[in-house]
Amino acid sequence: MYRYDAIDKEFLTDRSNEFRHQVGRRLAGELSEDQFKPLRLMNGLYLQLHAYMLRVCIPYGTLNVAQVRRLAWIARTYDKGYGHFTTRQNIQFHWVKLRDAPDILDALAEVDLHAIQTSGNCIRNTTSDPRAGATAEEIDDPRVWSEAIRQWSTLHPEFSYLPRKFKIAVTASAKDRTAARVHDIGLALRQGRDGTLGFEVMVGGGMGRTPFIGQTIKEFLPATRLLSYLEAVLRVYNRAGRRDNIYKARIKILVSSLGAEEFGRQVEEEWAQIDAARADLPDTELARIRAAFIQPGLEVLPAVSDSYEAARGANPALARFARNNVSAHKAPGYAIVDVSLKAHDATPGDANSDQLEAIADLAERFSLGDIRVTHEQNLVLPHVKQSDLPALFEGLVAVGLATPNINLVSDIIACPGLDYCALANARAIPVAQSIAQRFLDADRAELVGELKIKISGCINACGHHHVGHIGILGVDKKGEEYYQLTLGGSGAEDASIGKILGPGLNADQVAPAVDRLVEVYLAERQGEERFLDTYRRIGMTPFKEAVYVDAH
């Protein structure tokens, strides 16, 4: 894990002091709200429906034990005892006071956390694979490059006032767990024929009211040239991106209007003029960052743990958990454990202080002190000995975090929606809960298999509805909440944008509609097909007919 040194720590102290000064000036009336708002946003502080909300950055979704404990303490001290993990691998607190925000930032800085660039028209937290460093699938550790991007993008002077926000994802496995193709820039690590590392660079993906899948503008960017190339992309965007209309200001609109080929040509032209010696990271610094991610403490173990196999055979609940939440680690005898924050009566992505502290304790005992956050609003304990799995499972059960539903129908992404968010048109959380309630039968959920439901409370699409196998978008129709369903989206390596099923449904109709969609799938599926595969094979019509029965 990357450890902050004195330089990183002093930087956070300076940032925290700067914000304290700015809050003081606002409270004293020296700054107007118009002047202050962008400053508080650049420190992750929003004004929502009921209170301020503070979004804390979790760089590429990686946390250590002390950090999780501190988040639990902040939730208890300054909030109502819980935090909400977001679809950008961050955590947000929904009941924060402006007066407390400087103290909270100080408390975060003590454990190397901050809220820098969790909002505003700047480069946001880099998304990466929550299984980085643990999965055998990756061709390189994406955290190395994510950390390089974190440093490069932090208070980047030229790119702090972009036309609009800017999100970068780094993935290194064939299986994409970062939604790279719906980021402003998606970077997929590739290995060249000569063994060198490079990136496939995809630009212009995004969701919101005009969703796009990112297009490849460079098949193989030598990895060591990453920062100069990013500088070129950002410069072209900063100059040419639209600033007259907030809905057309993202890079996806620029790429779409120029065409990916022309955009790529302009980037190449700009890139050719950049002094690589100034812009690219020296090999020594890359080596320093890389060394920080070498995982110490992995023991040499037999590939199979007999005690774990026996425990699984004796305990059906553990066996179910193992089927759904446990996957292979690169090291023999180890496993990667997904911790679901989607218990059936819970708010998707929420964890209370007791749960956070329990996670920290369990990670300390069983996962080499490493905790990850997924963009699907779950947590991961990446380095667990198989022989520790039964004890870990019991520990998770004790705090209600052993829900065995990863990737299943009740593992739903939902934004905070109208219950909290000032931008939302409709609620998302109760809809997620009503669907989870409908699929309480764990055997049936397993029978259905992988089914990604994603719910957004407005067109900004924080709940990633465009890329849900079933997407649900909340809209406001004459003061009432309605929900528009889409089918066939995917945010993974087979990325696609969902298509609208039909007229909007009211809140009570959504869960029954999902049930009908699932029934169609179960009746039609062939072999190992997922819901998404069946939809892609048979098309919209059978699903549509099942949900909308016309009175002809």
Binding site: K80, K97, L418, D508, V547
Partner: protein
């Protein structure tokens, strides 16, 4: 529908972020205590006074209010949530106070929810 002019003035406190309502020159915590404006002139005058308090509140604006058998309530669902708190955590926000006024607002809130009016789904 009557075209009655009925509005309340709301904002969030600058230092805390709490939802507040205007009542005779003061900010109060509960919607039930909010001043109701039945004419545009006094309503706009209150907005002007509120906007002159940038160190006390942020974002002051008028909301539409409706009268029904259950009492008065904000018209929009968003404003009812602001007046009550989130529906996924009934112990959080203003609804935690409980009492008759909150219960009335919750009842009004329930009435505003969609009730299957369109009847789009029927069993085959």
């Amino acid at each position: 529908m009557s075209a009655e002019f009925l509005k309340a003035l709301t904002a969030n406190r600058l230092g805390e972020g709490d939802v507040v309502f205007w009542s005779g020159g003061q900010w109060v915590e509960q919607f039930a205590d909010a001043e109701l404006f039945t004419e545009e002139g006094p309503a706009e005058a209150a907005v002007a006074l509120a906007k002159a308090q940038p160190r006390i509140v942020v974002d002051a604006y008028l909301i539409d209010v409706t009268r029904s058998d259950q009492g008065v309530a904000p018209v929009s669902y968003r404003e009812r949530l602001r007046a009550l708190g989130p529906t996924n955590e009934l112990g959080h926000g203003k609804q935690a106070l409980g009492g008759a006024a909150i219960a009335a607002l919750q009842a009004a809130s329930g009435a505003a929810r969609s009730t299957g009016r369109l009847d789009l789904i029927r069993r085959k």
